[in-house]
């Protein structure tokens, strides 16, 4: 196997540009290496981007925070910027595997791996995050909600690398919540994950973003439920109707971890839990 450890981003993009060296990118390897083992075969080469300083930074700008793709879950958990502007991302990262996985696994790997059960995509989607995709000829920004095309399919082109995640700063008048229901208390893959970010004033919803994991082929937003809730007063009727709308909008499946019915039920209840808590808090 050919192993490339790149000195800088340009070098990595150069390797990707050449079909002869267009090998899988390896960041923390916590998804990739498991997949190699399960598939019983290794690729002919690998491009290790795990140590590229250019994409291991967390930067605060005027209206956004930028997270390098190779930032690990542990780095996110410890970052003051993330804690301040997107604390629920810290909550999500804390639930990823255990400390060993958090130390190696990266946010970029979590996004590009495109598992419907990945824990950071629902948070990033609820925060209207964009991903920056780069190749030798330039870079483009894609909203994360448009990045996922179908089950494990993304908009990433073969010569592209995910460089940064750009998260808009949201005002202090918005409150977010992240809930993950796994198969056990730790080291668990999500059966349902929900992230909601909302602006609620006087018991009424001014703005809301709802994103879920493990209830559809990709992480998804729930636009119909959002549209229903916008402008509504949060009474028990509204909460019930929101639950019904959400249930109709998501498409969970039966699999080894859980059942479609259970996932739907839990997704509804978690939304209700958030709304009840949020209407008290504002």
């Amino acid at each position: 196997m050919r192993y490339f450890k790149c000195e800088n981003l340009i070098e990595a993009l150069g390797l990707l540009a050449d079909p002869d060296t267009r090998f899988p990118l390896l960041a923390g390897g916590t998804d990739l290496i498991v997949q190699w083992r399960m598939g019983g075969r290794m690729p002919e080469g690998v491009i290790d981007i795990g140590a590229l300083e250019e994409i291991r930074l967390i930067i605060q700008r005027e209206n956004v925070i930028e997270i390098g793709a190779a930032v690990t879950h542990s780095m996110l958990i410890e970052s003051n910027i993330v804690r301040r502007y997107c604390p629920v991302l810290v909550d999500a990262c804390r639930t990823v595997g255990a400390v060993q996985i958090q130390n190696r696994g990266t946010i970029g790997g979590n996004i590009v791996n495109a598992s419907p059960a990945g824990d950071t995509p629902p948070v990033l989607m609820a925060f209207d995050a964009k991903v920056e995709l780069a190749n030798l000829s330039g870079r483009r920004h894609v909203p994360l909600r448009e990045f996922y095309l179908s089950y494990r399919k993304t908009a990433l082109k073969p010569d592209e690398l995910l460089t940064r995640i750009i998260i808009p700063k949201h005002g202090p008048d918005e409150k977010a919540g992240f809930y993950k229901i796994g198969t056990r208390k730790a080291q668990a893959i999500s059966k349902v994950a929900l992230c909601v970010r909302a602006k609620i004033a006087g018991g009424a919803v001014n703005d809301i973003a709802i994103a879920l994991g493990s209830v559809a082929p990709t992480a998804v937003r729930a636009p119909k439920t959002e549209a229903f809730l916008k402008g509504k007063k949060l009474d028990s009727f509204a909460v019930d109707e929101a639950k019904r709308t959400l249930a109709a909008e998501i498409a969970p499946i039966d699999d080894i971890r859980s059942t479609a019915d259970y996932r739907r039920f839990v997704a509804e209840n978690l939304l209700a839990r958030y709304l009840e808590k949020a209407s008290d808090a504002f």
Binding site: V34, G40, I181, T183, R184, K185, A186, Q187, A188, I189, D240, I256, R257, S258, T259, D261, Y262, F265, V266, N269, L270, A272, R273
Partner: protein, 757 residues
Amino acid sequence: MGVVGQNAVRLDGREKVTGRALYVDDIVMPGMWHGVAVRTTIPSGKVLSVVFDPRFNWKKVVVADRHDIPGRNVVTMIEEDMPLLVHDEIRHIGEAIVLIAAPTKKMAEDARRHVEIRYEEWQPVLTIEDSKAKKRVIHGSDNVISRYKIDKGDVSAGFKDSDAIVEGVYRTGAQEQAYIEPQGIIASPGKGGGVDLVGSMQCPFYILKALERLLGMSETKLSVKQATVGGAFGGKEDYPSVLAGYASVLALKAKRPVKMIYDRNEDMNVTTKRHPSVVRHRTGVKKNGMLVAMDIGIELDAGAYTTLTPVVLSRGFLHSAGPYRCPNVRIAGAAFATNAPPNGAFRGFGAPQTLFAVEAHMDKIAEEIGMSPLELRRINCLKVGDEMATGQILKESVGALECLEKAAAASGFERKWRASLPLCKGESEGIEVRSTLPDPPLQREGTVRGIGISLFMHGGGFTGSGEAKMKGKAGIRLERDGKLTVLTGCTEMGQGAHTVLPQIVAECLGVPLSCVRVETPDTSKVPDSGPTVASRVTMVIGKVLCVCAEEMKRRLSEAAGRDHGDFRSLAGSFLKKRGPLTIIEAYEPTPGIHWDDTTYHGDAYAAYSWGCDVAEVEVDKDTFEIKVERMYMAHDVGRAVNPQMVEGQIEGGTLQALGWALMEDNRYDGGKLLNNRFQTYIIPTTMDTPFLELITVEHPFSHGPLGAKGVGELPHDGAAPAVVNAIANATGIRISEIPATPERLFEECKKKHFRSS
């Protein structure tokens, strides 16, 4: 000396924590190759042909098939129905057809991918129901692997005499042992054309017996040695005989050592699991709570071959009526063959399944007659002098009631139980808690809490006449330097046997523990103590060692011509005059024990350990997540030889049982295991572990070593029913099938129109 009763530090601890202990995969031999098995991918059918892809260079490897087996193509256990390599008929996915050895594991794996098997496929039999209905006959004439019947009193008359009759059906799933170290063995050609084995195993002498038959060799040409073992839980009782067979056949053909180590997936796919069960109860009871008649039906899914199933079923039978007095009992049932990999030994060995059923059922009875579950158990609990279902009269060492009272008192059971009210009252019978209960206090927002209890026992040692037939041997050798060596085929696999047995010897001889060591279990060096199973090592082999110690003292005194003086001085003068001394004794069954295998009547076990578990759970109303917050466990182990290790067994066994109760679930599709890795086979983590409160109860057993009884399996018996009973107390939903996952609780609640909205 007071060595027994002390928390002696594990004698194997230092080696293990410093990484010096050699597990089988750490062992490398000169010229050693690596073996793999080519396996069936269909559950039922016939092999038409085996095709070796000519693109692979077969000269680089050694291939063995059934024609290379020098003796008979069988894996000898209880029966000889299981071939080592598929002969003709395929009975489950993962059966080996061809074996390959290669210089590297990678090459062996590569070779395996270049073998194609062509089949004729048959309709598989995959459930107990289909097997029982003889959808196809895959074993014997009726798919029955084993069947028993126990009859006591007159059950029909008992039902006529009852005020209420309560029925229930209980199901449990397959469970994976999940030992840390997967299975592995190295076979190497030995002297005189024989074979030497070293590996991860519980029972070296089982392997010896299996290889004699398979290789057509006398045991003098064979030696089987245990490497350091990283956990077993029953999973390394019978299966290593299979792996030893593969490795030996390859080693003989390749004329070099062959190592076979499973990775986790292969281990989970092909090795044995806990038998899935269906247990039906019909119980007649008086208004005052007295049990009058118990009619119990037991069915186990045996998988494709007999393996240890008859003994698992037997133990299941003998524990199925629980620790209760009942004049009329009928127990009937069978283990059925299916096209799944054979199920086998797992901590508890059939008892956890049937105790789950009876203990969940006791709560249903209590509810039916409006009595507290604690009171119902108290009324019927076995005491000294009582008669069990097999007619066994309990003569001594019955700590059941003390366990019950202590666990109930420590947990505040009665008060807490009354304080909970179901969250979901259904229309159907048996769901509502009676009006004898006070109004519930306000629940914490979003969750409901409940408490549940279970009472249980575990028979120590082999069932019935097993120990009398086995005559397990063990010995003590006085070494030239005055130190003592314990000689036993019983193995250390993490449970602490090789610390506890020396503690017993040190105590009996009056020497410090540091003077005693244990010989490596190697069939060429130690006597056959019988297998390391059935909660028997401390109780049975510990007892044999006490007898050895007495005999040694007698011989030393005799030689010295005096019976006073301490062991050291007697031993010193003996060694000077005559040199080392080895004493080997065999187990003498407890006097007055009678068992009839044909009628299943008599003293099923010489002694029972008893236990009571109380579980407190919290159920989230939004997600149905079940959190076990606290467990109280009062266990009567006779005498705790090493209290800390007893606690270790109880804590570990309870957690393993909680896994089985709440999340562990081997799921199959068309005979194929779906969750063959730890990403999808979910076991509890530290974060899932409740606060565990232990209460040790000691009702000594006169024939046990210094009063000790078994503790290895007991802790797996009580947690599951205590938890489902607690869930019922919290939610009003009786879960009769485990694992009690949130999904299952949700489904049950839906059935009861949970939250009518």
